[in-house]
């Protein structure tokens, strides 16, 4: 069963609205916006976690970061 939906009224730049409607259509707009909002909240949470970790153990080493970049798949 889906969660109850809340109606939001937001203002976005016209160009952005046109691009999103073109991409997902009028009926797909709510799902697209909900996914984008959830993703942004996750990203902010991750940013906060990285700050918390850095305060505890310091920043990641350059060599670990380089290895992480090398590991990450190219798209």
């Amino acid at each position: 069963m889906g969660q109850p939906a809340a109606k939001l009224s937001v203002s976005v730049p016209n160009e952005l609205a046109v691009a999103v409607r073109k991409r997902v259509g009028a009926r797909g707009l709510s799902g697209f916006v909900a996914r984008a909002m959830a993703h942004e909240l996750e990203r902010e949470g991750l940013g906060a976690l990285l700050q918390e970790l850095e305060a505890k153990i310091g920043p990641p080493t350059k060599s670990d970061l380089a290895r992480a970049r090398k590991t990450w798949p190219k798209r």
């Binding site: 993703h39 906060a48 990285l50 970790l53 153990i57 990641p60």
Partner: protein, 138 residues
């Protein structure tokens, strides 16, 4: 679907107990930072919790980590569980490797994924057929 970073039990433990496991936690934070930069999702397969949760004393640190909105638990779906079984069968591995197989099956739910793991050999074997999965050894 999007890109994802999948955390196995060692990665989750390192991040939850960062002060006690600083070396591993720093490595885990490097791949976590890259996930943030790449706007990737970070997921913990629910089966991993069976390896990590060992009672209230330990769980509070794990729960603190999982309460962060940036890390979400990926529920084990019927499809992923069946896929995990198929991965084990292909390599003739026993159910002792079931959690590793769940980790790889979770990674397969995304377009591309990186698995952060303290057990790279087994995970690498299970993920070997899939070019869209990369392994980051802690």
């Amino acid at each position: 679907m999007a890109e994802a970073l999948i955390l196995d039990s060692e990665a989750l433990n390192a991040l939850a107990f960062a002060s006690d496991r600083a070396v591993l936690a720093k490595r885990a934070s490097a791949i976590l930072r890259l996930a943030h930069d790449k706007r990737a999702l970070v997921r913990v397969p629910s089966a991993v919790l069976a390896e990590v949760c060992r009672g209230v004393r330990y769980d509070s640190a794990v729960n603190h980590l999982l309460n962060n909105p940036g890390i979400r638990v990926a529920e084990l779906t019927r499809g992923a569980a069946q896929q995990a079984g198929h991965l084990l069968a292909k390599l003739k591995l026993s159910s002792a490797h079931a959690v590793d197989a769940f980790v790889v099956a979770t990674a397969l739910q995304f377009d591309t994924a990186v698995i952060a793991t303290g057990d790279p050999d087994d995970i690498r074997r299970l993920a070997a057929p899939f070019r869209r999965i990369a392994i980051f050894a802690l």
